[in-house]
Amino acid sequence: MSELSELYQQVILDHNKKPRNFRKLDTANRTAEGYNPLCGDHLSVYLDVEDDRVKDISFEGSGCAISKASASMMTKAVKGKSRGDVEGLFSEFHKMLIGELDEENTPNHLGSLKIFAGVREFPVRVKCATLAWHTLHAALNNEELVSTE
């Protein structure tokens, strides 16, 4: 069960149970919806972008523990960041999940997001962890709907 406890760490379970920034954002000037048609996971990301910077962010939706915790931690990680920094972080996060970035030995900006490293042992769950990020990317680029399969 060690891989399993690596996947379902306490922090992830906590974010799943009590997701942060889990609401509609009244001041949002950009939103996007993300779907995973394979499993039915569905979430909306709301952004308040000012001067190309994420001033505020929130999300709503339903999904598994991994997708919900990832969305929750993402909102904390990107708040206040510039669009370029957000895209850079997404790229690092994705590389970590597919095993192309050694988060312990290569310099990176992942911080607390490293907790999702365990997901790479479960390739079918990588899409769960990245759904919120794909949706955020779409919102930043004014695309309204994304789907991951």
Partner: protein, 419 residues
């Protein structure tokens, strides 16, 4: 009825040697994540016994050739084997004639064949097609496409909270504009067995043909298309212990005769000139191109296997597994069974409070248990119960009560992990 079921069960407990049956399935002899594989995803695809694997190998080693054309030895061998499988299918569902059994890739292709061949020819603007609230996407989307093309209207039979169709509502939907009823025999997401014989009778009062999606019933219960009097019946080989790419759409001969062909090409013609083509007789009219010969021969072998182990005993064992699993899972606090119809086949969909089915699926997989987690290609069913997805354990005659015990223990572990 109850007394009869009990007698079958008693007989089974003596006759059903599940370990002997399991030995027929090589795939079951493996470990997953260090645990013995517990395969409970039979409603998605079932496993293939050694005799079926060997039949396919034998074809490839000794008989492979194209069918219905060569005068040479191998082509005749292949044709004989392929048409032999059709005869086996005919007896399996008790069709009047083998030519009423059209070989297709699976249930989905079978339904699409009827949509194109029958629907596009005989259904027009403002005509109505009735389906049910518990259909698989395969028995929804083709009819939506037809409705969109023709301006026809899709009507949906609702279901109650147990996952049973509301038959009074169905009767109310039937009218002189109804041109087709397409309904599943057994729900893949809920396990409900629908009273299709009665439903067919009602449709026939209006002269309306009925298509039955038999994907989940053909593998698990006796089906007699003449007794049911259904007009079309579709099923897949890979859900009944045969290879993927095999399947059947049965149709009443008179209907198949007046339908348009499905695909055009070789093998489905009598004569071709650039001015005019005349189509072949049944069943070739619907079998353009070279089919999945090895797979269809495998389907014939799978039916022979089912007959050899005793279909009624297999069904009784599955019924007992469903009863036992329902009892075990219902007893766990926080678990809710989705689909509690009185008549059910061996499908057990469940959810756990506050825990997404995907997380359940991943944790079960770590213990070697294969279940399906998701919407089961039946999103309207999920919407009806206001849930995003379920975890689904679906049983076959090679599953055991001990496997159900491991399932129940692991579900408890899931709840522990999520606290």
């Amino acid at each position: 009825m109850l007394a009869e079921a009990k007698t079958i069960q008693e007989a089974t407990s003596v006759a059903w040697d599940v370990e002997r049956i399991r030995a027929d399935f090589p795939v079951l002899r493996q470990t997953v994540n260090g645990k013995p594989l517990i395969y409970l995803d039979n409603a998605a695809s079932s496993q293939v016994p050694q005799v079926v694997i060997e039949r396919g190998s034998m074809y490839l080693e000794q008989e492979h050739s194209n069918i219905h054309r060569g005068v040479h030895y191998l082509s005749q061998k292949a044709t004989t084997a392929y048409e032999g499988a059709r005869e086996t299918v005919k007896r399996f569902i008790n069709a009047r004639e083998a030519k009423e059994c059209i070989f297709v890739r699976g249930t989905t292709e079978g339904i699409n064949l009827v949509m194109h061949g029958y629907g596009r020819k005989f259904i027009g603007a403002e005509d109505e097609i009735i389906i049910s609230a518990m259909e698989h996407h395969a028995n929804i989307v083709p009819w939506q496409m037809l409705c969109e093309e023709k301006g026809a209207v899709l009507r949906v039979i609702p279901m109650n909270d147990a996952g049973e169709l509301i038959l009074d509502e169905y009767e109310g939907l039937l009218n002189e504009r109804t041109k087709l009823v397409a309904v599943t025999h057994v729900s893949n997401a809920l396990g409900t067995i629908n009273p299709i014989k009665r439903m067919i009778e009602s449709a026939h009062k209006y002269g309306v043909p009925v298509l039955i999606d038999g994907a989940q019933s053909a593998p698990h219960m006796l089906v007699d298309v003449q007794d049911l009097d259904c007009d079309f019946y579709a099923f897949s080989g890979h859900k009944m212990f045969a290879p993927t790419g095999s399947g059947v759409i049965y149709g009443k001969g008179a209907l198949l005769e007046k339908m348009n062909p499905f695909q055009g090409g070789g093998d489905m013609i009598k004569t071709v000139t650039f001015e005019k083509t005349t189509y072949a007789d049944l069943p070739n009219k619907f079998e353009a191109g070279t089919p999945a010969i090895a797979s269809q021969i495998g389907l014939g072998a799978a039916i022979d296997y089912l007959n050899s182990i005793g279909r009624e005993q297999a069904e009784a064992h599955e019924r007992e597994l469903l009863r036992y699993a329902t009892e075990r899972l219902s007893a766990i606090e926080g678990v809710r069974i989705i689909g509690t119809a009185r008549e059910k086949a061996s499908v057990l969909s469940f959810i756990i409070d506050e825990i997404h089915p995907h997380d359940i699926g991943t944790i079960l997989d770590q213990e070697g248990i294969a279940v399906r987690a998701g919407h089961h290609c039946a999103q309207p069913v999920m919407q009806r119960f206001n849930i995003p997805a379920t975890a689904r354990a679906s049983f076959a005659f090679y599953n055991t009560k001990e496997e159900v015990d491991v399932l129940a223990r692991t579900v408890e572990k899931v709840i522990d992990i999520f606290g």
